[in-house]
């Protein structure tokens, strides 16, 4: 059994929050104009049509129009603009 799977089962058995135990990214989307990302490692790319955020599990690609990072701290970032897609890409494989 994979180490990740063990952690996931442990977390669900102990009913502990998975974002703490597994370090999973938390995305809070408000309509299609605001996305809040927590538990991430850093930005890898940022243009006004695409924001790539590196997390422990892999990359999150937020694409849309007139994207802007409202604020950017060690724990949380907020992206605003007209968001059309949120994709999860396996980070270990190269695109």
């Amino acid at each position: 059994m994979d180490r990740e799977q063990i952690r996931e089962r442990l977390a669900s058995a102990a009913s502990m929050p998975k974002d703490v135990v597994m370090g999973a990214a938390v995305l809070t989307a408000l309509g299609n104009f605001e996305v809040c990302v927590e538990n991430y490692r850093g930005i890898t790319e940022y243009t006004d049509t695409l924001v790539r955020v590196q997390t422990k599990e892999g990359q999150i690609r937020v694409s849309g129009k007139r994207l802007q990072v409202e604020y950017y701290t060690n724990s949380e970032m907020k992206i605003t603009g007209k968001i059309s897609k949120i994709e999860f890409v396996d980070g270990r494989k190269e695109e």
Binding site: G42, I43, Y46, T47, Q68, Y71, Y72
Partner: protein, 418 residues
């Protein structure tokens, strides 16, 4: 909102980052807990805002990530202060403002009264002024316990007073006595000088309730003005029914009687009416203390004119009136025209006068039973006349005659028997 204000007060800069991997620079910033906002891509790099204090910390990060940093804008209070540091008058103005604020706060600017219903604000502030407490006095010279003591001493019907300073306002809370038995009536009851009650008008007694003294009349009796109604002298009798002495009382009774009153009211049918014209003269003025500044003149060549004056006193706060007032004087021309009342108009004026007269009587507690007032119209005058039948209280106080009794021989014999 509050964030924006804090950012402005601390000062912030807008920075442009360009180079091989500006994203790495951003991640380094967040790793070192440097707060970044307003991040936007621009050309090959990014632009963002950060606080002026963090600017020093990012130099080593920029060197490490091989990025170039350019400050594109400086915002906030620290930068403004540096920019305008040569404007000495501006800073002097701020300094003067602070000093004036401090100086002004040393004075009382207003006196506020609370809880007074019978005593007016004006009366209380006039009294306080006579004791030296007025707006514009120094705050440090206000003696709150002294004010409380003075008000309690001056006004008997104020049963509780509190004086406190509320900023630059003196707040005075009072509680008035609502129980009338503790007020002036108590003093009246103590009055023990012997008096009679006499009739104040001719009439027929309809009701008499005596509380103190000896009643001399009965219901239905006809009395003349000046007749004694209640005697303040009570006879003391011995067993034989002879008067041996007198006790004196302050007579007290409710006595109502039916009385009559003649009423006449005459008006002239011819009167002069003012017709105002549109010819006017104005003179606005400003009065400071006893000095009056005015513009223009009221001098005119009008045949008749009416001069009116309106004046408004300046008022700061609630009870602080500086001796400044302003207003305007107006002279308006008019012509006189002789006119004559129509019969109906004359009737109406007389009946209005009569009903006002009746209203005044009723306010005094007089009941009007009937009247035979008729309106007569003559060539150039109109008259309302007749008799008004009233029921009113006719008791009036008068001093009691003090009598002395000569001792009789029988008294002595009684004395020797014992």
């Amino acid at each position: 909102m509050i964030h924006t204000l804090i950012r402005f007060l601390r000062g912030y800069v807008r920075i442009r980052v360009e180079g091989y991997s500006p994203e790495r620079f951003l991640n380094m910033c967040s790793y070192h807990s440097l707060y970044i906002w307003g991040l936007a891509p621009s050309g090959q790099g990014y632009e963002f805002c950060m606080s002026a204090r963090d600017l020093k910390k990012i130099r080593p990060l920029a060197r490490k990530t091989h990025t170039k940093i350019r400050v594109t804008g400086r915002y906030g209070l620290p930068f403004l202060a540096v920019k305008y540091r040569k404007r000495k008058l501006f800073f002097f103005g701020i300094f003067v403002c602070v000093i004036l604020l401090k100086v002004y706060s040393l004075f009382i600017w207003d006196i506020h009264f609370e809880g007074n219903e019978r005593r007016t604000d004006e009366a209380l502030s006039a009294y306080l002024e006579s004791t030296g407490v007025r707006p514009l006095m120094l705050k440090s010279s206000v003696d709150c316990p002294g004010i409380v003591k003075n008000i309690r001493k001056e006004y008997n019907d104020i049963v509780w007073v509190s004086a406190s300073l509320d900023g630059s306002r003196l707040k005075i809370q009072v509680k008035e006595n609502e129980d009338p038995s503790l007020g002036e009536d108590a003093d009246v009851l103590k009055d023990e000088t012997p008096v009679d009650l006499v009739a104040s008008a001719d009439g027929v007694i309809t009701e008499i309730v005596t509380r103190s003294g000896v009643p001399q009349v009965h219901v239905g009796d006809e009395v003349k003005k000046g007749d004694i109604l209640v005697l303040g002298r009570v006879d003391v009798l011995n067993d034989a029914g002879e008067v041996t002495g007198y006790q004196y009382r302050h007579s007290d009774a409710d006595i109502y009687a039916d009385t009559q009153m003649e009423y006449t009211d005459t008006i002239s049918l011819i009167y002069e009416e003012k017709n105002y014209e549109n010819k006017m003269r104005y003179r606005p003025f400003l009065r400071i203390g006893s000095v009056t500044l005015s513009v223009g003149t009221l001098n005119n060549d009008f045949e008749h004119c009416e001069i009116t004056s309106s004046e408004t006193a300046l008022k700061l706060g609630e009870n602080f009136r500086p001796p400044v007032s302003f207003g305007i004087q107006t002279a308006r021309a008019y012509t006189l025209a002789e006119k004559r009342y129509e019969q109906e108009e004359a009737r109406e004026i007389l009946s209005v006068n009569f009903s006002r007269f009746c209203g005044e009587l009723e306010e005094k507690g007089v009941q009007i039973r009937d009247n035979s007032v008729k309106i007569h119209l003559y060539d150039d005058s109109a008259e309302a006349s007749g008799t008004v039948y009233l029921t009113e209280s006719i008791a009036q106080e008068a001093d009691t005659e003090i009598l002395t009794i000569e001792r009789k021989e029988t008294d002595e014999s009684v004395g020797t028997d014992d």
